[in-house]
Symmetry: C2
Subunit: 229 residues, 2 copies
Amino acid sequence: MTEPRTVGILGGMGPEATMGLMDRVIAAAGDDQVPLVVDMNTKVPSRISGDCNVGDMDPAPVLVAMAKRMQAADAAALVMPCNMAHQYAGQIAAAVDIPLLDMVVLTSEAAVKAAGEGGKIGILGSPALQETGIFDAAVAAAGGQAVYPDDQGMLLDAIREIKARGVTPYVRDKLVMASHDLLWQGAQVQLVACTEFSLLERAMDPGAIKIDALDVLVEAIVAFSRNAA
Amino acid sequence: MTEPRTVGILGGMGPEATMGLMDRVIAAAGDDQVPLVVDMNTKVPSRISGDCNVGDMDPAPVLVAMAKRMQAADAAALVMPCNMAHQYAGQIAAAVDIPLLDMVVLTSEAAVKAAGEGGKIGILGSPALQETGIFDAAVAAAGGQAVYPDDQGMLLDAIREIKARGVTPYVRDKLVMASHDLLWQGAQVQLVACTEFSLLERAMDPGAIKIDALDVLVEAIVAFSRNAA
C-alpha cells in the first residue's frame, strides 16, 4: 500500500459535528489509520443568516483562510462537516490547489444512486438548505429531485433544541414527523443533511432509506486517503 | 477581550488521547471557544522502544515536521497530548518560533504546588517514563521528588489492556494497586502521567490527591488562548 494521504478538515461548525466526523473516521479507518489535519475554528461567522449563530459577517473569507491554512499544513484534500458551509464550496476550491471533497455533491450522488434516476430525495436539514437551494442543484445534477418537509419551522426548532439541550425525545418526534411527511411526498430515500441531525440515531420514519451526509463524507475521506478515490 | 489565540495539537499518539484532549478543551472553553489546529498523525513512530507500538524509527523528525505544519497553520503555541513524546520537547521547541506548552513541566509544577516544597510526587504512567527520567528532571526542577510504583510491569500490562480492550475492571484494579503502593512510599500527590490512564475515572487510591496531566494541559491551553498565560 502507498503512504496514506492527509485530509484537512475545516471544522468547528460546530465543534460537536467535527468531533463526530473525526470519531467516525478513526472508527472506519481501523488499524490502518487516516492522517487528518483539523482546523477547529469556532469563530466562523454564521452560515445561516438570521439563525442561531450570531453575526452578519461573510463566512467566505474565513473559510478560504482556513482552507489555505490546512493546505499549508500539508492536507492533500479538504472536507467541511457542515452542509450550509457548502454554499462557499466554489470560492474555497478556487483558493487552493487541492480538491474539496464536496459533501453535498457526494451525498446527492449517493442518494440518487439509491433512489434511481429521476427519484425524489427528501432533505432533512436546516430550512436554510431549502432557501439557498444547495441540494436542489446537486440532486438535480445527479439526476434526482430534491423535496422538503412542508413544516420547515419544525426543523429549525429541532436544530435549536439540539444546540441548547442536546438530543431530547421532543427533537426525535419532530424529525420522525418530518421524515413521515417526506415519505408521503414520495421520497423514500432521505438525506440527513444537517450535521446536528447526524448525531442522532433512529430519528427517521422506519419506512425511509437513510443516507447520512456525514457517513458519505467519512467514506470519501477514507477512500481518498488510501488513494482509491 | 482580545481575539483568542490558536493552539496547535501534535496529536494521534494515540487518536483517543487527542480526542479526549479536544473534548476537554471544548467543554472547558464553554461559549467562549478556543480555536485549535490539530495534526492527527497516526504514523508517529513509537515513543516507547520495545513497547506496544511498532518500529525502531526515530520519532523526533516526525514530531518536528508536525510542529512546523501546525506553525504554518497559524498556531500560536503547541501542545502534545502524550507524555512520552516530551522526550523530544527540546528538539521541537528549537525547530519553531512559537512556544511549546510543556505538559510534563506544567504538570510537575502543579503537583509540587499541591504537595509542598520537597514533597514526593507519585508517577502513574508507562515504565518508559521511569526509564527515560523525564519526570525526575521536571519534578526536581519544580522542587519535588518523583517516585514510582515498584511493580512497573503491572503498569505496562494496564496500558496494553486499555489499548487492546479499553477500560476493564482488571485495568482499574492494577492502577488502584499501583496508586496504593505510591501512598505507602509517601507520595500522596500522584500524577496521572499517561494519556491512556487519563481516560479512566476513579482508578486511584481514595487517599491519593490526583493531578491529571491532561487536565493541567487543558487549563494551560485555555489560559494561553485567552492571552492570560
